[in-house]
């Protein structure tokens, strides 16, 4: 039975990359008869992200205050829950996640039935691999995650993700705000959801700036470590 997939695209100042990403996304054919819809969440961009997005056949959710990546993604997930979608997939607005890779995540989900599928850069050494220090940080979170959840997720900071109905319901109710990716994995596994990774090829960002820049990376590590620890001891 064919289902509905919502592509959740959090955007902050992405007027440059959306005209490249959206046509490619909307012409993407999904496997197993899935129907594709996309929602753009504009997190108070200072450029013309909304106007650019409205040129395409996508839903635009315009946040009145800047919520950060976690709050923006959660808005899209809530939209998916309210509109009865079978799957929600997060795709970053900067073009790092090529739409043609969506099919891999969906196929994996359909074959195995896991609740959350993560597109990983590191299972195969192909495509954009990001800088040395960033990979060091990702390695650290891999071990921390393994320690806390017992699941071996290599690319725990990847924002290229698929959520099934159970994961949508959970994330719509509670999703971390700042730097949500590694922390949400702890939340998912505490709730008994299955998380798995598939290899994807990522591109370097086509425009915009990473939310994690050099001076903030230490803060990032400390904040996420604390958040993961407290998510771990919190009752689900």
């Amino acid at each position: 039975m064919p289902g509905k997939v919502l592509i959740v695209i959090p955007c902050y100042n992405e007027e440059a990359s959306l005209p490249i990403l959206l046509p490619e996304l909307l012409s993407t054919k999904l496997p197993n008869g899935y129907e594709l819809n996309a929602v753009i969440i504009n997190d108070c961009s200072k450029d013309n992200t909304v106007a650019v997005a409205k040129n395409y056949d996508v839903t635009v959710l315009d946040l009145p205050v800047n919520l950060g990546i976690g709050g923006a993604v959660q808005t899209g997930i809530r939209y998916a829950r309210d509109n009865n979608y079978d799957l929600a997939m997060q795709l970053d607005g900067d073009g790092q996640h090529p739409p043609k890779e969506l099919a891999k995540l969906i196929r994996y989900h359909d074959e195995t039935g896991v609740n959350v599928v993560i597109g990983s850069r590191f299972l195969e050494k192909e495509g954009f691999q990001s800088s040395f220090t960033r990979r060091l940080g990702i390695q650290y979170f891999h071990w921390l995650n393994r320690f806390l959840t017992g699941q071996a997720i290599y690319d725990s900071t990847s924002g290229f993700r698929l959520f099934d109905r159970k994961a949508i319901a959970l994330a719509a109710a509670s999703y971390p705000d700042e730097y949500p990716e590694p922390e949400s994995l702890v939340v998912f596994s505490k709730a008994g959801l299955k998380v798995a990774e598939v290899a994807v090829v990522m591109a370097a960002r086509q425009g915009g700036q990473s939310s994690i820049r050099s001076f903030g990376s230490l803060y990032y590590c400390i904040k996420v470590t604390l958040a993961m620890f407290f998510s771990f001891i919190r009752k689900p």
């Binding site: 959710l61 315009d62 946040l63 009145p64 809530r78 705000d177």
Partner: protein, 118 residues
């Protein structure tokens, strides 16, 4: 009465009046005013009862009375700051929910308008 007693009592009364004014004008919610009113009452008590501090000092075993005052008030301020952080966190969460809700409603509203037009 000593001169210093007059000064502290006068400052205290002015402070209470200012807090009352803020509450009356709706600029300060009563639940946040409680701690300030309590502090003022506490100061007022020891402005009148000057031997009280000496008694507390002996009871707690602190050598210099001033240190007891500093320790007590710094601790109270820390607790109140923590309380304010809790308030800020709650406000953040409420704001987030409101923002998400508004964006979802706006989308529904626009869709409804378009449906009506066509």
């Amino acid at each position: 009465m000593l001169r210093i007693q007059f000064i502290t009592i006068a400052v205290n009364i002015l402070f209470v009046l200012y807090i009352s004014r803020l509450i009356i004008k709706g600029k300060l919610r009563e639940e946040y005013a409680i701690v300030w009113v309590m502090c003022t009452l506490f100061l007022l008590l020891f402005s009148f009862w000057t031997d009280g501090l000496e008694l507390l000092r002996k009871l707690t075993g602190v050598v210099v009375a001033a240190n007891l005052v500093f320790t007590g008030f710094i601790f109270a301020i820390l607790v109140y700051l923590l309380h304010l952080s809790v308030v800020a966190s709650k406000l953040y969460n409420d704001n987030k929910k409101l923002g998400q809700e508004i964006s979802l409603l706006k989308e529904q509203f626009n869709k409804h308008l378009e449906d009506k037009k066509s």
